[in-house]
Amino acid sequence: MMVMDETPEHGAGKGVPRLELSGISKRFPGCLANDGVDLTLWPGEIHALLGENGAGKSTLVKIIYGVLKADAGGLRWQGQPTTINSPFQARQLGIGMVFQHFSLFDSLTVAENVALGLDRAGSMAELRPRVREVGQRYGLELEPDRVVHDLSVGERQRVEIVRCLMQDPRLLIMDEPTSVLTPQEAERLFETLRRLAGEGCSILYISHKLEEIRALCDAATVMRGGRVVAACDPRRESAHGLARLMIGEDFATASRDGGVELGEARLVVGGLSAPAAVPHGMPIDDISFQVAAGEILGIAGVAGNGQNTLLSALSGERSTAPASAIRINGHDAAGLGPRERRRLGLAFVPEERLGHGSVPEMSLADNALLTGYEREGLLKTGQILFGRTRDFAQRIVQSFQVVGGGVAADAGSLSGGNLQKFIIGRELLQNPGLLVVAHPTWGVDAGAAAAIHQALLDLARQGAAILLVSQDLDELLQIADRIAVLSNGHLSQCFATAEVEVERIGLLMGGLGHAVQPDESRAV
């Protein structure tokens, strides 16, 4: 645990930096993703690369790992000017990378997957004990002969990390590693990373979770709009201070004010089971809950535990639910499609902004028509009332401060945060009695996220029922009144947010909620 304190101060007599980037620039059509970025990594340093979505973090690490080529700028590896043309060459130099999305073969064993990731694997008989040994040394216990298909998300990530460690990396790049982990799994990962750093490996840690960066990292480089805007010691900054550096302005965080008067149940789900919505998706099994007018029920859980199946069953895009399994405003909605459910007062914000919640090639006005056509009265005898449609879109843009081109602009031209504000505004302005919203602030800047949270709280206060499905536990703790956990297609009981312990939620997210008591979890 204390390894962290032994890490060196920046450059204090430690010779040459492990990696030195100077003036890296990369342009994509329509955006300058990296603009003269400088970055220095020392041996044994856990260095955070911090920034909002679109700040240019991913582009930068892809350049380091040889996936992309910079348009300009220089790179020194252990003091030597170097060109990295491919991931293969990066691995040869000793650079390993764990991507946010895993690249594992489900039907192969752990050892086979590790072998496939190595440039020189050797025989399986030699590999198996080495996988076990490397795993043990860094607290990444893995059974080499288990099939990846049966592993949890956290275990799969361990396979990816072990695969990198097998090549004795001098620099390990981790891209948002905790976004798929429970709090307990994340804590274990941090210990592994600290141990690695203690052995002199440099770690470039990409994240936008401020608390974990403060707990883990020795140095931080903050990016905004493709540029480095600050370099600091995250241990000496507050989370709010880091956030301000990240978004470049101050913002107010929304919070519950408690004491909500609950009304009648708007959404009643009873014994809902459904097969997976997509191939290799997760089916849901016997899910029951209800959401009352005036409250926000949060559904926590690591992605891939049945959220998509649940959401498509609730939206009506796949109406395979048994009769009466879903009741909206007292009506049996199980057999109804999205249009009929909207008539009953349901509004829905899907996870994917572009291509599900909106049509990228169409204007904001057309996208307002997409779901508002009935409740906003935008049609007359099959014809579109263009004036009313524009007015409706204009109201959304004004009420939710959607920046970017006005109602005639294509949805695809807006930034993620602004498009999300537009989509949420579109649903909210239709005065829904029930709102189902999925991952509303995913990839959205902190300012927009705060605005979205406030809008959801206001809607609940006006008497709507809200079901909030999110991976972001902080978000749920901040605005949900009650929280339930979806794990492996099963839903836990609901907990009042004010009383629940985070450890308990974390264990439920890991599928262990019933077996282990909260007290034992602290010993992990």
């Binding site: 003036g23 890296i24 059509p29 329509g30 350049i63 080529k69 910079a70 348009d71 300009a72 700028g73 220089g74 790179l75 000017p81 170097t82 060109t83 990295i84 043309n85 939206s315 009506g316 895009e317 499609g337 999205p338 249009r339 009929e340 909207r342 829905f348 899907p350 994917e352 291509g355 599900h356 919640g357 909106s358 049509v359 990228p360 090639e361 169409m362 057309d366 028509l369 997409l370 779901t371 056509y373 049609l379 099959g382 014809q383 579109i384 294509d410 695809g412 031209s413």
Partner: protein
């Protein structure tokens, strides 16, 4: 210096309408080279191909006669194409429309009332629509690919027509030629301009294009068609039924092709023959894309392609060139159009590698 294509930030709106013009220009340029290679004066051929056919009132009327079935088919097809429903079988639907309407005319005989023509049009719409209903059913029920089913049904339709005119519907006084009796006057489209073959079908095709424009740009159903074509997941989210739109677009496209077929047999032809169309249903696919799937663009494209039919005949007669010239022109046009459409999303760029002075910037791509 290297040439490469670079993705545009967003599709170029001006080029969406510019590439058809570019494609026409390239077709003419390549055609000229081809004619020069065949030993003809290119300007004379182009004049004979594009100008001579329409330098008289009769020629203009002929142009409209040829454009009528093309526009009718293409407007219907474009509805489906906008929704990613690829009906390739307009030729078969056209044939079935001709069989249904023509059969009615043969059955009614010589002394039918003025209702006959209207009933024939209804039969044409119905026949084409029913033929398109088969791919629609197979698609919505079994998820069978409509490209294959509609195309295969085209050959079934042509063989059915062939069977009828060789067999049960053959004119008993026709010296065993494979053709039916001529339709009675009441079963023929009135000629609008004496001395020409311009018939009632032309203004109806114009109305159909206007109706298509109205549906696509003003009606909610047109909006739904566009959303399904662009982003099917968003259509599902909005509650638009892909199934229903599949039915609607295929039926509408089939019905309009069927009407085009009826206009051919009740207009210029006047009877049923084994071959009633020089591939209008297939050429309409080119017309639809050349017209950017926009009904009013299709009007212009339909007239242009009709000219390529007339031009082919003219150069055959006046210069002795093969009739296949029409097909070559149409083929080149579609080829250049598809190629030029790359420019809508990409811009050509000459790059120099000298900017990459620093160590990281790559030489290789």
């Amino acid at each position: 210096m290297r040439f490469r294509l670079e993705a545009r930030e967003r599709p170029s709106r001006s080029l969406v309408y510019g590439t058809p013009v570019l494609a026409v220009a390239l077709t003419m340029a390549c055609g000229s080279v081809l004619f020069a290679a065949l030993g003809h004066n290119p300007l004379a051929v182009l004049h004979a191909f594009f100008i001579q056919p329409i330098d008289s009132l009769y020629g203009l009327a002929e142009l409209t006669v040829k454009a009528t079935p093309l526009v009718l088919c293409a407007v219907g097809l474009a509805l489906g194409f906008r929704a990613n429903i690829w009906n390739i079988g307009a030729e078969g639907q056209l044939t079935l429309g001709a069989i249904a309407g023509g059969g009615l005319a043969l059955w009614a005989g010589d002394d039918a009332g003025p209702w006959l023509l209207w009933a024939m049009m209804a039969a044409g719409l119905l026949g084409g629509g029913l033929w398109a209903a088969i791919p629609a059913y197979l698609k919505t029920r079994f998820n069978a690919n409509e490209i294959l089913t509609s195309l295969m049904l085209t050959y079934v339709a042509i063989l059915l027509l062939s069977y009828l005119v060789h067999g049960p519907w053959k004119d008993p006084d026709g010296y065993s030629f494979p053709q039916t009796r001529m339709f009675a006057d009441g079963g023929m489209l009135p000629v609008l301009l004496s001395g020409t073959r311009l018939h009632l079908g032309a203004p109806i095709a114009l109305l159909a294009a206007l109706a298509g424009w109205f549906v696509m740009s003003r009606m909610f159903i047109g909006f739904q068609i566009k959303v399904v074509g662009l982003t099917p997941a968003a259509a599902g989210f909005a509650g638009f039924s892909v199934r229903r739109l599949t039915w609607i677009t295929l039926l509408a496209g089939g019905a309009m092709a069927g009407l085009a077929g009826l206009f051919e047999v009740a207009g210029p032809i006047g009877q049923l023959l084994p071959s009633i169309s020089p591939g209008y249903g297939f050429t309409a696919i080119i017309v639809a894309f050349l017209g950017r799937l926009h009904p009013l663009g299709i009007l212009i494209a339909g007239l242009f392609i009709a000219l390529s039919y007339l031009g082919g005949e003219t150069v055959q007669i006046t210069l002795g060139l093969p009739l296949a010239v029409s097909g070559v022109f149409q083929g080149m046009l579609l080829f250049f159009l598809l190629a030029a459409d790359v420019l809508v999303r990409y811009r050509p760029r000459w790059t120099t590698t000298t900017t990459a002075g620093a160590a990281v910037a790559g030489e290789a791509d």
